[in-house]
């Protein structure tokens, strides 16, 4: 399937348990480069859990067990030689609720580069501007970079969070329902932004919103009860779903 695209991330036989409850069952998936891949499915279906396995944010959950393989550009990410900080620098994440640090806008964006060892002021200024432009919020905040990021509106905060993720120059961006806490106008701004970003980044989003998935994603993966039911081109999945359960879900019969 889709052999002409180079997969950036490949999961094979991925299984995950929280304690004794299984949250992912035998997931196989190839995530293509510079495309938007949407993960959809009802609440608790495992889509967010799967997203978090990709940058190992599940490591933080106590009692979690992971089996199977996840490769990022050929590198097995759960192998002991992988430094999780390197992985998370390559694979950025934007969360459901905007979570800027209680610091200035500038310090928020500079946090990642500083962590990874950039101290040069001119270089940091450059990165901050580039990232904020990349997240389409530079014009709105350029005059108040020293103000607290918490003074911004929810939509602006979320774009600052995206800029913050871009500042460490990631390869892949994971977005966990990044617009679900926002108003429609902010949502459409972020959707436009995602359209832009996919020219330079591989993007994986989790969304509850079917319209959003059809609007912005190239590929779509439908999860149900921890299983990957169907995976393919978004257009095709929403017009001629292969599986009954997918059809039931996208036509709103459950979930």
């Amino acid at each position: 399937m889709d052999t002409h695209e180079t997969p950036v991330i490949t999961a094979k036989g991925l299984e995950l348990w929280y304690g004794s409850a299984q949250a992912l069952r035998n997931v196989d998936i190839d995530i293509p480069e510079r495309k938007v891949t949407a993960l959809i499915g009802p609440s608790g279906c495992g889509k967010s859990t799967f997203l978090k396995t990709l940058d190992r944010m599940n490591d933080l959950v106590p009692g979690v067990t992971i089996k199977g393989s996840v490769r990022y550009r050929g590198q097995e990410i759960y192998s002991p030689e992988v430094d999780v900080t390197w992985l998370r620098k390559q694979i950025g994440m934007v969360f459901q609720k905007p979570n800027p640090f209680p610091m200035s806008i500038y310090d928020n964006i500079a946090y990642g580069p500083r962590t990874h060892g950039i101290r040069n002021k001119a270089k940091l200024d450059e990165i901050v501007e580039k990232s904020l432009r990349g997240a389409a919020i530079w014009d709105e905040v350029k005059d108040r970079l020293r103000k607290s990021a918490l003074s911004l509106s929810g939509g602006q905060q979320q774009r600052v969070c995206i800029a913050r993720a871009l500042a460490v120059e990631p390869d892949v961006l994971l977005m966990d329902e990044a617009t679900s806490a926002l108003d429609p106008i902010s949502t459409s701004k972020i959707e436009e932004l995602i359209e832009d970003l996919k020219n330079s980044y591989t993007i994986v989003i989790v969304t509850h919103n079917m319209q959003q998935a059809t609007r912005i994603s190239d590929k779509c993966a439908f999860f149900l009860l921890g299983e990957l039911i169907e995976y393919g081109d978004t257009d095709q999945m929403f017009s001629v779903p292969r599986d009954r359960r997918t059809e039931d879900y996208i036509t709103g019969r459950f979930g």
Partner: protein, 306 residues
């Protein structure tokens, strides 16, 4: 009341009872209000008492001579009542205790809040509570019998009872308050901040020190201010280790704090000397009130953030 035929009559006792109940309610309301008012009365009483008894000596000695005089010789033929040595000793002693105690307390709080498992944290918290419960004279006794001789030997002094010994004792004594207030502040840091930092490729330790600690800064500041209040108000423990001579402060000099200046002469003082002690108490009280206000402001701010 045998007949219930007339509703007006039947209602009567009810009305009467209500009247009694209303009066009881008013009475209880008044009693409870008085209980609450007593706390305010106590504060006013203490403030007024300290001001009224503290002012005469200041007026007699002169505010500048009193606050900035470097010589305290209350029982000399030509007495001098300058309390600068006490003020500076209290300030230096407190600062020293903060410099030693805050890093240890903050680090312990960080360990409790972020690193340790539930069980270990429970054990350490019990230890911290116990440290807080140890009476100050017990700290003083240990300081006097262990620390003071150790300081004397280590620095080759004539006597180990000095500012340094007092600083160490104070640092240990303020540790519990610093730990518990900082831990509360660190626990209140939203998990989202830490997740965001980790997702950017920061390590856990980097996250705790560069995101969690700044996010909890008002609470940690409150912990420091609380520590200052505790240290500046402590009397008995440092009475037993600081030597109690009215010197200008230096690390190895025998010194007197504001608190110990009051305590050490109270039992035999009279006249202007005694009134000057009240004035010292007034100065200490002003320090404490400023610290209290700062503490309240910081705690409110930190609760808002958390």
């Amino acid at each position: 009341m045998s007949s219930q035929s007339s509703p007006a009559q039947a209602a009567r006792p009810g009305v009467k009872k209500k009247g009694f109940r209303e009066r009881l309610e008013l009475l209880m309301n008044a009693i409870f209000f008085l209980c609450g008012a007593v706390a305010v009365a106590f504060v006013l009483f203490i403030s007024i008492y300290l001001i009224v008894s503290g002012l005469p000596a200041i007026r007699e000695i002169g505010l500048i001579d009193f606050l900035f005089g470097e010589r305290w010789a209350s029982t000399a033929k030509d007495p001098a009542f300058g309390i600068l040595p006490f003020i500076l000793t209290s300030v230096y002693g407190t600062a020293g205790a903060i410099v030693v105690g805050v890093p240890v307390g903050f680090m312990t709080a960080m360990f409790l809040s972020k690193i340790s498992g539930k069980k270990t944290a429970g054990v350490i918290r019990t230890a911290v509570d116990l440290l807080a419960g140890i009476p100050s004279v017990v700290y003083g006794l240990i300081g006097m019998t262990v620390l003071v001789p150790a300081v004397r030997v280590a620095f080759d002094l004539a006597s180990g009872a000095c500012l340094l010994a007092a600083i160490v004792v104070l640092a240990v004594m303020i540790l519990p308050s610093i730990i518990s207030v900082s831990e509360t502040a660190l626990n209140a840091v939203p998990k989202e901040y830490e997740e965001a930092s980790l997702a950017l490729g920061a390590t856990e330790i980097e996250t705790y020190f560069r995101v969690s600690a700044p996010a909890a800064s008002s609470g940690i500041a409150a912990a420091v201010v609380l520590g200052i209040g505790r240290a500046i108000g402590e009397a008995m423990a440092i009475m037993m280790v600081a030597g109690n001579v009215a010197n200008m402060p230096s690390l190895f000099a025998s010194v007197r704090f504001l608190t110990t200046a009051i305590a050490s002469e109270m039992s035999y003082s009279s006249g202007l000397q005694r009134q000057a002690l009240f004035s010292i108490a007034l100065v200490l009280f002003l320090f404490i009130m400023i610290i209290n206000v700062a503490l309240n402001v910081l705690l409110k701010k930190s609760r808002k953030e958390g």
